[in-house]
């Protein structure tokens, strides 16, 4: 049963245990033909385990895999017809680059001329023609990695599993290879599952992202979903929310989901993600790009008061705080700055303004960019209830319309943006300023 021209590949409650340790638990995912899925998460969260389960390299402890309604997890690895780029490359040390790349074609007993032509083409794609007759031991790490990529793309497998295939390349080559992978994906319509640490890579390549943590799915959704509406602070952490603080909820607005937080000598307004009530400990986060530095002229004016929405009834725009510049790094187009706010809380921000270390300044934290997450949440259910989901929003690009889970894909739990109807815990959350966030 070789995977060719399938419609959906479905993982139902897939899990794997090593000894007493559960490396992966309850992974529900429905992959459409031609989709590009990125698996994202910190080291040791079970990404490679998930790929190995899909490839059939380790037996499942729990769950099942289905292809177009047929049970697939009992099919042996060599019969699945999935290609895989291994995290440790796993190149055959006794074969040359050419021999490595040709291996799979030889196994298919293709004509010699075709093997030679396709091998050559794949080696050209990864820019290794001048190294083609070397043994893997004579190559640099990045060159070996490219051989590993060439070795699996040459087979044009129906499903391509890539375990951090670009981790060892320099920045320029990584961008080139990323484009190659994307192009190949589009040209051949290869379904791809791609493991990466790099959120930028994941956002730019994938149709849908799966964020894992400790073997559990944190969130599944489109890049836009995850970028604008991370479900937990762990996801936010991965999505570039470099500033994360632990604070306490002081009070919350009757309407909308603005909360005022207090702690560490700070008092600030934020948008609640999920149900929060006064006294809860939250993790609040904001991206460095979203912090606004007030122009120097405004320094003399008094600081805007947090919680002013309670009196004025107007939606607040942001909390303004006094800060002291600590570290300034020039990054080319702008400055990456670290300032101190409140009781020595470090805040990272980016600004074109030339700030000087040691100087006082004033920063504004826009409320709708400042997301407050419950400290611990059950994973799987999205707190962004009422917010437009990827299905509703998928009007623009054709890419998006095909990524949602198709009708009748089994339980469907955990697919799409994960906004389950049963998890509406947040009254009146429709007032979330989502429309602004989208325009980011």
């Amino acid at each position: 049963m070789r995977a060719q021209g399938f419609q959906t590949l479905e993982l139902r409650g897939v899990g794997r245990r090593f000894g007493r340790h559960s490396a992966l638990r309850g992974l529900n995912l429905s992959i459409q033909q031609g989709e590009f899925i990125a698996l994202l998460g910190p080291s040791g969260c079970g990404k490679s385990t998930a790929l190995n389960c899909l490839a059939g390299l380790v037996p499942l402890t729990w769950g099942s895999i289905w292809m177009d309604g047929e049970r697939f997890d009992q099919v042996p690895c060599e019969k699945r017809g999935f290609g895989m780029v291994f995290q440790n490359y796993a190149l055959f040390p006794h074969l040359t680059v050419r021999g490595n790349v040709a291996f799979g074609l030889r196994m298919r007993k293709l004509p010699k001329a075709e093997i030679r032509a396709r091998t050559q083409e794949a080696i050209r794609t990864v820019r290794l023609l001048d190294q083609a007759d070397k043994l893997p031991g004579q190559l640099s790490g990045g060159q070996q990695q490219r051989v590993a990529i060439a070795r699996s793309i040459v087979l044009e497998p129906a499903v391509m599993l890539m375990d951090e295939p670009l981790s060892n390349l320099d920045a320029k080559l990584r961008l080139e290879m990323r484009t190659e992978i994307r192009q190949m994906h589009q040209a051949l319509g290869l379904t791809t599952v791609y493991v990466t640490h790099d959120q930028e890579e994941a956002l730019s390549l994938a149709d849908r992202l799966v964020v894992l943590r400790d073997g559990l799915v944190q969130q599944i959704g489109t890049p836009e979903d995850l970028h604008h509406r991370p479900a937990t602070w762990h996801v936010a952490d991965f999505m570039g929310f470099r500033n994360l603080f632990r604070l306490k909820v002081d009070r919350r607005a009757e309407h909308g989901n603005t909360v005022t937080l207090r702690g560490n000598g700070l008092e600030l307004d934020a948008t609640a993600v999920g149900s929060l009530s006064a006294g809860d400990t939250v993790v609040v986060g904001i991206r460095p790009e979203d912090v606004v530095v007030e122009p120097p002229g405004n320094l003399s004016e008094p600081v805007g008061e947090p919680g002013s929405w309670a009196r004025t009834g107007r939606a607040p725009t942001g909390t303004v705080l006094d800060a002291r510049v600590q570290v300034v790094e020039f990054t080319g187009r702008e400055f990456a700055v670290q300032v101190r706010i409140g009781d020595e809380v470090a805040l990272h921000l980016r600004t074109p303004q030339r700030l000087v270390a040691g100087d006082p300044t004033r920063v504004q934290l826009p409320v709708h960019r400042m997301l407050a997450f419950p400290e611990e949440v059950e994973s799987g259910s999205s707190p962004w209830v009422g917010a437009p989901t990827s299905h509703g929003r998928g009007t623009g690009s054709p890419k998006e319309s095909e990524v949602g889970p198709g009708p009748g894909t089994g339980s469907g739990a955990g697919t799409g943006s994960g906004a389950r109807p049963g998890s509406g815990e947040q009254p009146g959350s429709g007032a979330r300023p989502g429309s602004e966030a989208v325009s980011q």
Binding site: E78, N88, A90
Partner: protein, 306 residues
């Protein structure tokens, strides 16, 4: 050379001493080499000294010129044939041990419950020693032993098969003592091969036979050559079982018996030394052939963790 380079001339006084020390270190020669001194002394005293003593003794025969003992050995067909007899025993035995150990070790390369038990059971014959094995064989394979009784009860044969006091008795004993050795060596060579290589081959559509044939076997072959050499050397110097379960006067009169007789029945030490030297030369020749063949194979790292 480096003296003429601008960098080198900037520090002229350190150039000389630092230069050659650095060059030696690049070839792996530095002060840490002194740590090898005890081992070198040990090898010289325990191995090289007896060897050279025997070598010079073999050139001082009781009568005749320096090579007359060698001459005696090769001109006497009864003595000369011991080389062939020994090779006929040790080469097939070593080959059998290696070839039989490969599939078993291949099956057992992964981790599974009870692996340690199986390994222990297989190692026991090594620890038992040749004499105990030979006695067991005498009882088991003898005319009234279990093996023949089972064959006769099954009416497969009408009279007992002769399996001891001939070639086969010694062959079995060489297998019993040599096989576990070969198995353990090959198992460790196999665990040195990165298991993800076979997995990668599987994702490229290779079935188990192709994975073995195209990936594991080529990476294992250098190890097989080494294992063959070691079990061959063990089998070539067979002595107790050739006497106990063999036919020491005829079909299993191996070369070590000839050397023993020269030394302890005729008390002709130079002649015994000469025979021992011939024995060593034959072993060296076989090993050299095998290793020569090995150099034509892949010899890089097998990417394993072992």
């Amino acid at each position: 050379m480096s003296v003429s380079t601008p960098v080198g001339s900037a520090v002229p006084e350190h150039e000389g001493a630092g230069g050659w020390r650095h060059r030696l270190a690049e070839r792996g020669i530095d002060r840490q080499l002194w740590l090898l001194a005890p081992a070198v002394v040990f090898v010289v005293l325990l191995f090289l000294y007896p060897f050279f003593y025997g070598l010079q003794l073999s050139f001082q025969p009781n009568e005749g010129g320096p090579f007359s003992d060698y001459d005696r050995f090769f001109s006497d067909a009864y003595q000369r044939d011991t080389i062939g007899t020994t090779l006929k025993l040790s080469l097939p035995a070593a080959l059998f041990n290696v070839l039989a150990a490969v599939p078993l070790a291949y099956r057992m390369r992964g981790r599974f419950r009870g692996k340690r038990l199986v390994t222990t059971v297989l190692v026991v014959p090594i620890t038992l020693g040749t004499v105990l094995t030979a006695e067991g064989l005498l009882n088991y394979l003898g005319p009234a032993g279990w093996f023949n009784r089972i064959l006769m009860d099954l009416h497969l044969v009408h009279e007992p098969v002769t399996l001891i006091h001939n070639y086969w008795g010694v062959f079995f004993s060489l297998v019993i003592t040599g096989f576990p050795f070969a198995f353990l060596l090959i198992l460790s060579y196999l665990s040195g091969i990165d298991p993800s290589l076979e997995r990668a081959a599987a994702t490229m559509g290779a079935g188990w036979w192709q994975r073995f044939r195209r990936i594991t076997l080529p990476l294992l072959t250098p190890g097989l050559a080494t294992t063959f050499c070691l079990t061959f050397v063990l089998a070539f110097s067979v002595f107790p079982s050739a006497i106990l379960v063999g036919n020491p006067a005829g079909s299993t009169r191996v070369i070590s018996i000839a050397a023993y007789q020269a030394a302890y029945e005729q008390y002709d030490y130079p002649y015994a030394s000469a025979i021992a030297m011939v024995m060593g030369l034959v072993e060296l020749a076989v090993i050299a052939l095998v290793l020569l063949w090995r150099t034509t194979l892949f010899k890089g790292s097998t990417g394993g963790k072992g």
